[in-house]
Symmetry: C2
Subunit: 333 residues, 2 copies
């Protein structure tokens, strides 16, 4: 068998050619379905702490049984890097053939592919769980992922206003407002409080790295959908545990992970989730095996912690685009 | 800080520039010392089985605390590949900076660097544990690693004869003899039996993938050193468990791994290693904290299962050679 050359793609090429769009959402949906159908092998994350530099290298992978390639993602967070003028986050993905085990591509994305696959998951949560008709949407946090979440949401719901709340600097909040106005051509306002934000919105996305719950059950109102993106570690939390006592539908990407690292950890520990069978995985909702929202006045919540199948799906998509468009550097074997 | 470009090296460039030599042995020794000094972080291996192709992708890494880079090795074994004219084994290593977390190099070695770092470990075992003066050396197995082991041994001991025993085909045995004669300029003979081989040799290296013990305690004789390379999985074994009841010095690369996946598993289970404190790690012997061989008539054995620090050391060496010699393809960031 003649093997294709190995393709090396840099961040610029990936940003120019792989986009947060409907085809990415379709691929990520397939990944979630495989995960919930137990048609994916997802080993535990390999973590290499580097204390001398306040750093960590994390390695994630997932084999989606029906896919011809799998991704191995090596992501670094080195929090002393800004002192020497470098970004804290970096990383890349390898694309490995599941037919031969051989390397097909190196994607030098510096986290870009993770950003868009994460945003695509947020779009999927809203697509299957939010009301069809919404006017305003809200977001907690004003960082890069907050922006991608709003862009992703615009692919699945029509809205004419974004309400944002953040404890970040005025400059960063203004940058969010300006960028969102331009990119999505909607009204963008900064809320006075979290409570005010939620009261005005039918969809709320939480994308903060908070280590202390701030989203109160008192803020819940009929018809609300919450997508919770922030918590991906045992010490992170955005929603108070008793929020989950007061909602109608609870979903997440992977129950075993969300109850360990995500928003479902605190309510499980507090005894609000005694019966985990009421929690639905997003893959089961996409495939129709379980229901998402059933009526407009339900309150729904979806916790997304991020799973390796998303990496495999976005990496495979990038590889196929690169092959098709003949971009990147080809390395002979 | 200005970052160096990412370097991509292919197998040919690596074979031409990174060799099994004294400087590699020195680096691997440093890695073993760090391991035994607890100055290395070695997470569990990530394994991704791909049953549809009788395949598996394994990911290994190790952070040696004093080193400026670490390796992440992705190794594939796909045992249906020969049906389509491809090798079963493939793989590559990434070199990641432990200063910034950023990618420095991609080493497309297809297992070559693993072969030479494994051989270097065999040389180290003999260097610290075999008698100084030997005449003949023996090897069980006639594959690629058997050849590298003999080459490695020639760097640390003078010998004029190799005795080999194998159950492989006559053609492959002849190929071993011809190649070893030419490469090392010594006499090379095929033994009639394992017993005969051991009786003639002061150093014996076992490099078979055997799943059934074949090395009998009856074969042991005064002054013998055995380096056991083959066993690296729970179902592999070369030496009978009671060999360990009859030797004077027992060493290995990593006690926790050797007693789980290596030759020390069977004797531990059989009760011959009740006191693990008698087992010495090779890093402790290299650093002088523990003794190797003390007299010429002792019988010594060293089990090597392969550890991630060896990958980190050989990968870092390859990276520094490539930077120094300006080889490989440079990828702008």
């Amino acid at each position: 068998m003649k093997l294709d050359p190995i393709i090396i793609l840099n961040e610029k090429e990936l940003r120019e050619n792989v986009h947060l769009d409907h085809s990415l959402i379709d691929e990520i949906e397939k990944g979630f379905i495989a995960l919930s159908n137990k048609e994916a092998t997802v080993p535990p994350i390999m973590m290499l702490p580097v204390p001398k530099k306040d750093g960590e290298v994390d390695i994630k992978s997932a084999f989606v049984h029906t896919m011809e390639s799998m991704a191995v993602k090596i992501a670094s967070g080195f929090f002393k890097n800004p002192d020497i003028g470098l970004p804290s986050q970096s990383g890349q993905m390898l694309v490995i053939s599941t037919e031969t085990g051989m390397l097909q591509a190196v994607l030098l994305d510096n986290g870009y592919l993770t950003q868009i696959r994460t945003a695509a998951a947020g779009a999927i949560a809203a697509k299957f769980m939010a009301k069809k008709e919404v006017s305003a949407v809200g977001v907690f946090g004003c960082g890069v992922q907050s922006r991608y979440q709003m862009e992703a949401l615009s692919l699945v719901r029509r809205f004419d206003k974004i309400v944002m709340f953040s404890i970040d600097t005025p400059e960063r909040k203004k940058a969010f407002v300006d960028e969102m106005k331009e990119r999505l051509n909607v009204e963008v306002v900064i809320a006075e409080s979290g409570e005010q934000l939620v009261s005005e919105c039918d969809i709320v996305v939480t994308t903060t790295p908070s280590r202390k719950a701030y989203f109160s059950p008192k803020w819940l109102h009929r018809g609300l959908h919450i997508t919770s993106m922030g918590s991906d570690a045992e010490d992170k939390q955005e929603l108070y545990a008793d929020v989950f006592e007061n909602v109608d539908v609870i979903a997440c990407d992977l129950i075993s992970q969300s109850t360990r690292l995500g928003e479902l950890r605190a309510p499980k520990e507090a005894g609000y989730l005694k019966d985990l069978s009421c929690v639905r995985e997003i893959g089961d909702i996409i495939s129709g095996r379980k229901k998402g929202r059933e009526t407009d006045d339900q309150i729904t919540v979806c916790d997304l912690t991020g799973v390796g199948v998303q990496d495999t799906m976005v990496a495979m998509m990038a590889y196929l685009i690169a092959k098709d468009k003949h971009i990147g550097i080809e390395i002979p074997r």
